[in-house]
């Protein structure tokens, strides 16, 4: 029963009020994060590797003994915290983007193929997906770190190898719904083969979901990378990484609180911004998904 059935008119332009207010805060944080990471050399006041034993554990500028040459203080090796945080953004962004791109591409492909073919192919792929989903990321990364040694590549591999399964599941679910719609049957009736249907019909209709998922996953990857670095299984020192920076300040939380606090704050803000952005994307894109 239709409660509100508004007959559509031909090419009625949607009023400007239709689009929801842009999430300015999260969008600007994400944009700032990306810009900072890209322009790190220009923005950082000092060299993040520059040690100075004389300047160890200097507090942030607003405290006594603070100075504008190290606005957020220095760590145990006298390195400027602000510069390290700025350069650390590079690591987080790179880890986030690369990992998510790899895992989403592979995961979406698996989901599309499983959903399209169904039957035994689907069953086999889904068993593999289930097995992957149940494996803990941290454990895998630790194993890699212990056997091969910690590095950026290992972090990406460890996360991507497990993260793809999440995409596969979600995309497969969507593909199953899409497959019931007539336009897929119509494509087949017109003579389209599997490749064309998957790339031309299924994939574009899953893009909305993919975009939302990717945005939400970036935050997750950043946290995982930070956790790994914190545990010593991630990016090895002296490369500035927010997680290892928190680890370095662990023993000095009461005396030199800023060493752990500010990298932690950075993680919090960035991940929160990505999550909020992902939520907003899902809310804006969803109604149009419903239009199917």
């Amino acid at each position: 029963m239709s409660v509100v059935a508004i007959p559509e008119t031909q090419a009625a332009p949607a009023p400007a009020s239709r689009r929801q207010r842009l999430p300015l805060v999260s969008l600007s944080i994400v944009a700032a994060f990306v810009l900072v990471a890209l322009l790190a050399p220009l923005l950082a006041p000092s060299d993040p590797y520059d040690q100075s034993l004389r300047l160890r554990f200097r507090p942030p500028v607003w405290e006594e003994r603070g100075s504008w040459s190290y606005p957020l203080g220095t760590d145990r090796l006298g390195r400027d915290l602000l510069s390290r945080i700025i350069y650390g953004a590079r690591v987080s962004l790179a880890a986030g983007v690369v990992t998510v791109l790899i895992s989403s591409a592979f995961g979406a492909a698996v989901g599309l193929v499983a959903g399209y073919y169904g039957g035994r192919t689907d069953a086999a792929l889904m068993r593999a997906t289930d097995a992957t989903l149940s494996f803990p990321v941290i454990l895998l990364a630790l194993i890699l770190a212990v056997t091969v040694g910690p590095s950026f590549t290992n972090v990406v591999i460890a996360i991507a190898v497990i993260l793809w399964a999440r995409y596969a599941r979600v995309i497969r679910g969507q593909v199953l719904t899409l497959m019931t719609l007539d336009f897929i049957a119509q494509a087949r009736i017109a003579g389209a083969g599997a490749w064309r249907i998957i790339t031309r019909h299924l994939l574009p209709n899953t893009l909305n979901t993919l975009v939302v998922l990717i945005t939400l996953q970036v935050g997750y990857v950043i946290i995982v990378e930070a956790s790994l670095s914190f545990l010593g299984a991630g990016i090895p020192p002296p490369t500035p990484a927010w997680g290892s920076m928190i680890a370095e300040g662990r023993d000095f939380v009461t005396s030199a609180w800023w060493v752990s606090f500010f990298p932690g704050l950075a993680i919090l803000l960035v991940v929160l911004a990505f999550n909020l952005l992902g939520d907003w994307l899902r809310d804006t894109l969803d109604p149009r998904l419903r239009q199917l």
Binding site: A11, A190, G191, L292
Partner: protein, 326 residues
């Protein structure tokens, strides 16, 4: 576009078409039964003519249409298209067959890819079958849109910018892109507003006259089927129970099921004489069809041997009926 000449053979001829689905349960897929969705169906559609297919849920009309559209392969039986056997096709010949048989489905909101512009949707069959270059396709798309009564600029718009009736026009344009000889119309107007249905039905009739295309018209609106079809086939649990001239079947049905069906159709003419036939019970599951005549448990005219002997489709005053009454 003058209607092409036919070679005399009916556009589509289906003989003893059967499709059985094996029902599997459990992880290892043990078979627990067979659904005889289509069980020995035969009919023919001449060129430029319309066959109406009616029946309720479980009768097999949807499976029949899928078999004809080569979306399923028959278990046994043959499908002949313009005299050529197309039942067991390989890819190349199936491509050819696909060009000649197209479909329009019920839901105008699900049959168009929401992510594609109308022009691309209508052109897709042309793209896949590598017929024309881009300019040629554009011309053909404009031609097709004009044929279905849509303005040329519709090609640049997306489906969601159109109403249900307009979307069906797009679907019809797409179905005609490859100049098919047969179009399967599966409930083409039931999802549309009542005031729009006549427009679309008229369009379909016009197109048939201009292009000489045949239709397989499947619908539960019996009056519409009677209006559009030259011949009507009535299906019940996978079999055809009556087949004959549309007006004859609609106004003077012979098979008890057909009588009940058309009695339930409730014509809007208040004074139309109707034989009131109300059936008891539900449609039985196709997994376990009744023995003998499949309709006998619900038949108001049932006789003893209806339960044991299955009636064959026999000729009776100009049409085919499968019933022991005749």
């Amino acid at each position: 576009m003058a209607p092409p000449e036919s070679n005399g053979a009916p556009v589509l001829e289906v003989t003893n078409l059967t499709k059985h689905f094996v029902v599997r349960r459990g992880g290892l897929g043990f078979s627990t039964g067979v659904v005889r969705a289509v069980d020995g169906v035969s009919f023919a559609i001449p060129a430029g003519s319309t066959l109406g297919l009616v029946g309720e849920s479980g009768c097999g009309k949807t499976t029949t249409s899928k078999l004809i559209l080569a979306l399923e392969t028959p278990t046994t039986g043959s499908i002949r298209f313009e005299g050529h056997d197309v039942s067991a096709l390989e890819r190349a010949s199936r491509r050819e067959y696909r060009r000649a048989v197209q479909a329009v489905f019920q839901d105008p909101y699900a049959s168009l890819d929401p992510r594609m512009r109308v022009g691309a949707i209508v052109a897709e069959p042309l793209v896949i079958n590598a017929d024309l270059d881009a300019a040629g396709r554009r011309r053909r798309v404009a031609e097709l849109l004009d044929l279905v009564g849509l303005p040329a600029r519709a090609a640049t718009l997306y489906p969601h910018e159109f109403s249900g009736g307009q979307r069906q026009r797009v679907a019809i344009a797409r179905a005609l892109a490859l100049s098919p000889r047969l179009v399967v119309l599966d409930e083409p107007v039931s999802a549309l507003d009542v005031s729009i249905r006549a427009q679309i039905l008229n369009l379909l009739v016009d197109l048939q006259q201009r292009l000489g295309v045949s239709y397989l018209f499947i619908a539960h609106d019996l009056a519409a089927v009677a209006h559009m079809s030259r011949t009507i086939a009535v299906m019940y649990l996978g079999k055809i129970v009556e087949l004959g001239d549309a007006d004859a079947v609609a106004l003077a049905p012979k098979h008890p099921y057909t009588k009940a069906l058309f009695a339930a159709a409730l014509p809007i003419d208040l004074d139309q004489p109707r034989e009131e036939v109300t059936l008891s019970g539900e449609v039985p599951s196709p997994l376990a069809p009744p023995g003998g005549c499949r309709f006998h448990p619900r038949c108001p005219f049932v006789m003893p041997h209806c339960a044991t002997e299955e009636p064959a489709l026999r000729s009776e005053s100009g049409r085919l009926v499968a019933c022991h009454l005749y």
